[in-house]
């Protein structure tokens, strides 16, 4: 594909900027880079269902939180960290596939509401299932007794790894039958079925993909902070934030969500540090301005839709 080179170049450059932060910056910057990578992975995941398929999903926080809990519970039962993350990923992916089979029958506003309700239900269930989850007390994870720089670097690379995996998955999906089918569903679901797309299976695949990396990120995040509780793990705010990031960068594009996540996290840092009392309002203003003046996202400004590269080849 002709667009391949600049895409990969931009992607690798971006990842390198994040990956090299330990060389020239302090731990806070490294942490910010890791958070950018984490949210990048979340937004890129959301892109499968929200960007490609056009289903307004707000269940990101449910997958993130469940991933955190499954990972934490595994680790508390003596399962090594890496394996715990893998288990969290698989379990949550399976959960998403089952859930998707149910709620993907809804469309539009109803799907949006249903997917938000999933976050709240997960919180309530986790909170009342105290024997397994500790309920409102939350769960402690084994604190990793590494020097802070090393720990930070480790989790930076973990988050970058998850981001990279989600990006690679995006590129593969984008150029495959699946991605093409998802875009068809986005445009016209009935017509998609009539040309032979198994829309149910495709939507479930997209929903599952959108859950997988969130779960890994959630499990890794739990190991990183060492403590999780239901209110912090299942936040509606987080769910909406991830969607805003993807929109900010450009939903349905490959790098847009990551770019949006980076821009959003950095803006947040800026506001938090400088506007103690009004940071939330300023972020609100940013969202409003984004909707009005940048409806296609940052990438729509300079980059042609990668979509065009897919089938048409050239223009």
């Amino acid at each position: 594909m002709k667009s391949g080179f600049p895409l990969y170049a931009a992607m690798i450059a971006g990842l390198l900027v994040l990956a090299t932060t330990p060389l020239y910056a302090d731990n806070y910057v490294v942490r910010t880079a890791a958070i950018v990578a984490m949210y990048g992975a979340l937004a890129t995941s959301w892109n499968f269902i929200g960007g490609f398929t056009g289903y307004p999903s707000f269940s990101t926080a449910a997958f993130f939180g469940l991933g955190a809990y499954v990972g934490a519970i595994c680790q508390r039962h003596g399962i090594p960290m890496g394996l715990a993350w893998a288990i969290a990923t698989v379990v949550v992916a399976a959960f998403a596939a089952l859930l998707g089979g149910i709620i993907l029958r809804l469309r539009g506003h109803y799907f949006a509401i249903g997917s938000i309700a999933v976050v709240e239900l997960c919180r309530l269930v986790v909170s009342s299932w105290s024997s397994l989850t500790g309920g409102g007390d939350g769960l402690n994870l084994p604190l990793m007794a590494w020097p802070p720089e090393e720990l930070m670097r480790f989790f930076l690379f973990v988050m970058l790894g998850i981001l990279l995996a989600s990006l690679v998955a995006t590129i593969i999906v984008d150029r495959s039958r699946l991605g093409f089918g998802l875009r068809c569903i986005h445009q016209n679901e009935d017509a998609a079925a009539m040309v032979g797309i198994n829309t149910t299976a495709y939507k479930i695949a997209a929903y599952t993909l959108s859950a997988m990396f969130c779960a890994t990120a959630g499990a890794a995040y739990a190991s990183w902070t060492g403590y999780i509780d239901p209110t912090d793990s299942f936040q509606i705010v987080m769910t909406v934030k991830v969607v805003v990031m993807a929109l900010l960068g450009g939903a349905g594009t490959i790098l847009g969500p990551t770019l949006g996540a980076a821009a959003f996290v950095l803006l947040e840092e800026l506001f938090w540090a400088n506007f103690l009392d009004w940071n939330r309002a300023i972020l609100g203003v940013v969202i409003v301005l984004l909707i009005f003046f940048l409806p296609g996202g940052l990438l729509s400004l300079g980059m042609r839709r990668l979509r065009a590269a897919k089938v048409g080849g050239g223009q």
Binding site: P6, A9, S130, G136, N140, D232, L266
Partner: protein, 407 residues
């Protein structure tokens, strides 16, 4: 094409520039200058669910910092150093709290952390402090589960809340010998839950029967069902835990539904002025326990020689009465002053050891940390609202009223 496109667009260019500058700026801020001040970092919940509590911490810390700087600062070795308090709003989100703790340590180079309100977020911030060996003082975390993680750099000024339950059961049984059963309704959240479980355990040990015991989830806006069940169980003592908004609602609904008992306890309810303000006459008769009360008359070292002196200062500044959050937060500052004086330097390990060896008397009462870093148990005040004012029932030394039954 990607790169060209970005460059071609002025707006995108601006943003990309902004992103780069942001990273650079962040990277370049390296205040490696000579240490002129003592920096204390405080991630605070100024918005979100814990905003009220966050603002309390904010008020009292600012008051303390101004006072100590007016007095020339903190004595460290042969120098007097001014104190700089750096606060960020973590929006009551745990993830932001750890992010900001990280920022405070790395970016702002703070030497101490004040942890935010609540046991859950204290755990998160203390975890960060521990990694960097930055002493963290928790002023509003009393669940012992926070301190059992072998965190060497975490110290808490509140006493274990276990002390609040056994003493209370004993005291109430003494005052109301007919008390046979208790109904417990607790919020499913770290501190309120541990208090609910704690009182149930203490009550059972004290020979009471548990007539009802349930937790309600965060976000509950109707207690009618639980209260109707409690009413049917006819307990002698109703014990409800939660945040102020939960307790106001629960009390109001108790009144609405005619649910009452000779003893009604709400934790931490009456410890906060907002509770009595919000309830008005309905607050009368409600008992509670607290870690500190401004009627106590402790004396000691620090900015405020007596409890009364602290009370005067606080009243002059805010026109209101301080509660235990204010007291405990100000005491946290005193811990640092004392430890620095003894350590004589800013060396992390020395300062940490000095804090661990703290044994002082202050307006807030004695502060001496146990092996887990928590202030040692002491007799905690049992309070009750009478005529819409807080009265202290126990301990005997500071008692200013006798216990009454619920009106």
């Amino acid at each position: 094409m990607f790169a060209q496109g970005i460059l071609r667009s002025a707006r995108a260019g601006l943003l990309a520039g902004g992103v780069a500058t942001g990273l650079l700026a962040a990277a370049l801020t390296s205040p490696a200058l000579a240490q002129e001040t003592i920096k204390i970092g405080a991630p605070l919940a100024l918005t979100g669910g814990l905003a009220d509590e966050g603002h309390k911490q904010d008020v009292v810390w600012k008051m303390w910092v101004e006072k100590i700087n007016a007095a020339g600062g903190i004595q460290v070795g042969d120098k007097k150093l001014k104190v700089e308090l750096i606060e960020y709003d973590y929006q009551s989100e745990g993830q932001r709290a750890s992010q900001l703790a990280e920022k405070l340590i790395n970016d702002d180079k703070v030497q101490f952390l004040f942890s935010p309100f609540g046991s859950g977020h204290t755990k998160i911030v203390a975890g960060v402090g521990e990694r960097y060996q930055v002493p963290t003082i928790a002023c509003v975390a009393s669940s012992e589960s926070v301190y059992d993680q072998t965190l060497k750099y975490l110290f808490g000024t509140l006493s274990p809340n276990g002390g609040m339950t056994t003493a209370m059961v004993k005291f109430f049984k003494e005052k109301f010998p007919k008390t046979k059963s208790i109904a417990v309704l607790g919020r499913d959240d770290v501190f309120p839950k541990s208090m609910a479980e704690g009182i149930a355990k203490a009550a059972e040990a004290g020979g009471l029967t548990i007539a009802y015991k349930e937790l309600y989830p965060v976000g509950t806006m109707d207690h009618a069902a639980a209260l109707s069940s409690i009413k049917a169980a006819k307990p002698d003592w109703i014990y409800i835990t939660g945040y102020t908004q939960d307790l106001i609602l629960a009390r109001k609904q108790m009144q609405d539904l005619g649910v009452t008992a000779p003893i009604v306890t709400m934790v931490t309810g009456p410890s906060y002025k907002e509770f009595t303000d919000g309830l008005g006459p309905l607050a009368n008769g409600i008992s509670s326990s607290s870690w500190w009360h401004h009627l106590t008359s402790y004396e000691g070292q620090g900015m405020w020689p007596t409890t009364a002196a602290f009370y005067e200062d606080f009243k002059a500044r805010t026109k209101g009465d301080p509660d235990y959050v204010h007291g405990s937060c100000a005491a946290a500052g005193e811990v640092i002053v004392d430890a620095l004086a003894r350590a004589g330097s800013l060396d992390k390990a020395k300062v940490r050891d000095a804090i661990a060896a703290t044994d002082i008397q202050t307006f807030y009462g004695p502060i001496k940390f146990g092996p887990n870093g928590m202030n040692l148990s002491r007799e905690l005040p049992i309070i009750q609202v009478q005529d819409q004012a807080i009265k202290v029932l126990a301990p005997a030394a500071i008692k200013n009223a006798d216990m009454i039954a619920m009106p």
